[in-house]
Subunit: 112 residues, 2 copies
């Protein structure tokens, strides 16, 4: 199922293999938390180039890869555009409430 929904991107982690260490390693980075916050605020997939983050393209590609391999985001192509979505259901099954509390904490901190 993973390969089917992911299209050309084949290294998504299976839902049952999502590991807390990988999730925390991913979310300890403020740029990656910002990406996740922006995804949480959107009800549709966001293209990699459309995020409000101040990093180079290659750094951004690295951040998306870390998030994808941790099981936090799913990436799929629509034509030539790579769309990102949060894997909310998979994360909530693995670690209930974790994603939402971290997003909420990041929002609180961003808003001062």
């Amino acid at each position: 199922m993973t390969a089917q929904t992911a299209g050309r991107i084949t290294d998504h982690v299976a839902a049952e293999d999502i590991a807390l260490q990988d999730v925390l390693d991913a979310l300890v980075d403020p740029v990656r938390r910002s990406i996740v916050r922006q995804l949480a605020d959107s009800d549709r997939g966001i293209p990699c180039g459309a995020f409000d983050i101040s990093v180079t393209r290659s750094t951004s590609t690295h951040h998306f890869k870390v998030l994808r391999r941790a099981g936090i985001i799913r990436q799929r192509y629509e034509g030539t555009v790579k769309l990102n979505t949060l894997r909310r259901a998979d994360l909530d099954r693995a670690f209930p409430g974790l994603l939402d509390t971290i997003i909420d904490a990041a929002r609180r901190e961003a808003e001062g």
Copy 2:
């Protein structure tokens, strides 16, 4: 108040200065998550030497310092024994639910 309750240990962060980045930097480490889990399972302070962690004493001292400076634990002396407790109320006020969901996630992962 901080200085008073902390006794001889003077670098506890004030409740209002607890920062998400510091909390996540602290909890991204599995040994520190284990310390926090053990504190969450106890209803009283635990001496530094009484934790079930497989690290040297100097490494352990470092871990406690990171947790203390992040605002996750409070340390106080009782005689010559340094007792550790979780700063649950302060953390819950700063980032509601964050500590509990990470402890819960760590338990789930530890129990496989």
